[in-house]
C-alpha cells in the first residue's frame, strides 16, 4: 500500500517543531507500524535526510518503550496493543496517517517522536516498590497466603508497562491510571500493605509535582491502555489515599 505520513519533526527540546509530509510506497499490510517507520527512515537516510527519531526496544509489546499518537489515538487505532504490535492491515491503501509524539507538559519532547517519560520513574522512586531484605534469607513469597482474587487483581495492575498512553490520551494529561495501577499492585498484597500509607501519599504527591492534570473520569485511558488496566485501579488509589490520610 502507498501512504502519506504527516509526522511531527522537532530538532530538539528547545526548537519549535512542525508537521512534515512524507510518502511511503509498497508497504506490506503484514508489517508492523514500526517496520513501516523503518522503511521511511531507510528512505530518508538514502536521500541524505535526518531519519525520524522514535522510541522502541523489545518490539514485542511488553517493554513499554514505543509510543506515538497515531491518527488521534495513543498507539493507534487498534485495541490492547502497543505501536510495535500495531499492524499496517489496520490502514488502507492511500490513507493519510498523522503521527505525533505523546503530548503532556510532564512528557517534554526530546526529539521528533521521542518524549522524556522520566516523570514516571520519579513517581516510582517515590514509593512504587516494597522494601525487602534480599541478603539471602528472604522468605519464600509462596509461604504467605494470598487469595486467588487478590493475586489476580494485583497481577492485572502489575501488567502496566508504564508506556504513558494513559497520559497521552487523557484530555487532561492525567497520570492517574499509571499511578493507580502501581499503587494497586502493592496495596492488594500483604507484602505491600506494610508501607501502603507512605507509598500512596508520596506517589500522589510526586505525580502532582510533575505537572500531570487531574482525572475527570472520561475513561479514555482504560480504552487506549495496551494492557487493559482498569479504572478500578484509580478508585482503589483514591480509597488508599483517603485511608492513608486518616491514618496520618
Amino acid at each position: 500500500m502507498n501512504l502519506t505520513l504527516k509526522i511531527w519533526r522537532q530538532k530538539d527540546s528547545k526548537t519549535k517543531g512542525q508537521m512534515v509530509d512524507y510518502k511511503v510506497t509498497d508497504i506490506s499490510e503484514h508489517m508492523s507500524f514500526l517496520e513501516m517507520m523503518d522503511v521511511l527512515n531507510e528512505q530518508l537516510i538514502n536521500a541524505g535526510e535526518e531519519p525520524v527519531a522514535f522510541d522502541h526496544d523489545c518490539r514485542e509489546g511488553i517493554c513499554g518503550m514505543c509510543s506515538m499518537y497515531i491518527n488521534g489515538e495513543a498507539h493507534g487505532p487498534d485495541r490492547g496493543v502497543t505501536t510495535c504490535q500495531l499492524h499496517m492491515r489496520m490502514f488502507k491503501d492511500g490513507d493519510t496517517i498523522t503521527i505525533e509524539p505523546f503530548r503532556a507538559k510532564a512528557f517534554p519532547v526530546i526529539k521528533d517522536l521521542v518524549v522524556d517519560r522520566s516523570s514516571f520513574d520519579r513517581i516510582q522512586h517515590a514509593g512504587g516498590y516494597i522494601s525487602v531484605n534480599t541478603s539471602g534469607n528472604t522468605q519464600d513469597a509462596n509461604a504467605i497466603p494470598i487469595s486467588k482474587h487478590a493475586a489476580d487483581e494485583a497481577m492485572d495492575a502489575a501488567t502496566c508497562i508504564g508506556c504513558g498512553a494513559c497520559v497521552a490520551t487523557c484530555k487532561n494529561s492525567s497520570a492517574m491510571l499509571f499511578v493507580g495501577a502501581k499503587v494497586s499492585q502493592y496495596a492488594l498484597l500483604p507484602q505491600g500493605q506494610v508501607e501502603a500509607t507512605d507509598r500512596v501519599k508520596n506517589m500522589v504527591a510526586q505525580m502532582d509535582l510533575e505537572g500531570f492534570g487531574n482525572c475527570s473520569n472520561t475513561g479514555a485511558c482504560e480504552i487506549e491502555c495496551p494492557k487493559g488496566i482498569s479504572l478500578e485501579n484509580i478508585a482503589r488509589m483514591n480509597r488508599e489515599l483517603l485511608k492513608a490520610t486518616f491514618k496520618g
Partner: protein
C-alpha cells in the same frame, strides 16, 4: 488533612462530594416542584415549610450555596490546570474513539447550567430573599392576603415562552452533565466497580428522568396557565 484537600485526588473527592450533595438537592427540589402539577395546595405548603423552617434556611441553604459556588469555582480551576497540563495540543485527536461527548465537555454543560442558575436566581431566589429578609414578610401570603403566594409566583414565571425555552435548553444540558457526572462522582469517591455498574444504570435513569421531569413541569404550567 490540608495536604489531602490540595492534592489532585483530594480535589476529586471534594468535587464528587459537592456533586453528590447537589444531586440530592436536585431530587428534593424536583419532589416539591412536581407537587405543583398535582396539587397547588400541597406545593404551597411544602414551599412555605422549606422557605421558613430554620434548619433549611440557616443550615442547609448556606451549605447549598457553598456547594454550588465550590463546584463551579473548583470546576473552572481544574479546567485551567488540566488545559495547562498539555501545552502543545495534538494536530489530530480522536476523542470520540475512547470517551463520551458528555465526559469530554463537562465544562461546557457546566457553563450552560451556570448561565441558567443566574436566570433562576433572578427569577426566584433573589425575589424570595428580598421578600423575606429585606421586606421582612415571612408570612408567605399573597398581597391580598388570600392564601399562599408560591404557586402563583411559579405559574406566573412560565407564561413567557422564551423563559420556558431557556429552561428546556438548560435542562437538556443538565441531563448531559449528569450523564457523566453521576457515575463520575462515585468513581471519584472510590466506589468499587461492582457497585459502580449498578449505580451507572441508576445514574443514567436519574440523568434522564429528573431533567425531563423539570421540563414537563415547565411545559405543564406554560400550557395550563
Amino acid at each position: 488533612m490540608s495536604r489531602f484537600f490540595t492534592s489532585s485526588i483530594g480535589r476529586k473527592y471534594a468535587m464528587a462530594l459537592s456533586a453528590l450533595f447537589l444531586m440530592f438537592f436536585l431530587l428534593q427540589h424536583f419532589a416539591i416542584n412536581i407537587l405543583s402539577v398535582f396539587s397547588p395546595n400541597a406545593f404551597n405548603e411544602a414551599s412555605h415549610f422549606m422557605g421558613t423552617f430554620w434548619a433549611v434556611q440557616y443550615l442547609l441553604q448556606p451549605v447549598l450555596l457553598f456547594g454550588v459556588i465550590y463546584h463551579f469555582v473548583m470546576g473552572f480551576i481544574l479546567e485551567i490546570k488540566n488545559r495547562n497540563a498539555r501545552v502543545v495540543k495534538y494536530a489530530k485527536n480522536n476523542g470520540a474513539a475512547n470517551s463520551s461527548w458528555m465526559s469530554r465537555n463537562m465544562i461546557f454543560s457546566g457553563l450552560a447550567i451556570l448561565a441558567f442558575l443566574v436566570l433562576h436566581f433572578i427569577d426566584f431566589w433573589i425575589p424570595e430573599i428580598n421578600t423575606k429578609y429585606i421586606q421582612g414578610d415571612m408570612s408567605g401570603l399573597l398581597a391580598d392576603g388570600e392564601g399562599y403566594r408560591y404557586y402563583e409566583e411559579l405559574t406566573h414565571k412560565f407564561v413567557n415562552p422564551l423563559r420556558v425555552g431557556a429552561y428546556i435548553v438548560a435542562f437538556v444540558f443538565l441531563s448531559l452533565h449528569l450523564m457523566h457526572g453521576f457515575s463520575s462522582a462515585f468513581q471519584s469517591s472510590g466506589v468499587s466497580s461492582m457497585r459502580k455498574e449498578k449505580l451507572q444504570k441508576f445514574g443514567k435513569a436519574y440523568a434522564i428522568i429528573i431533567p425531563l421531569g423539570f421540563i414537563l413541569i415547565a411545559l405543564f404550567h406554560h400550557f395550563n396557565h
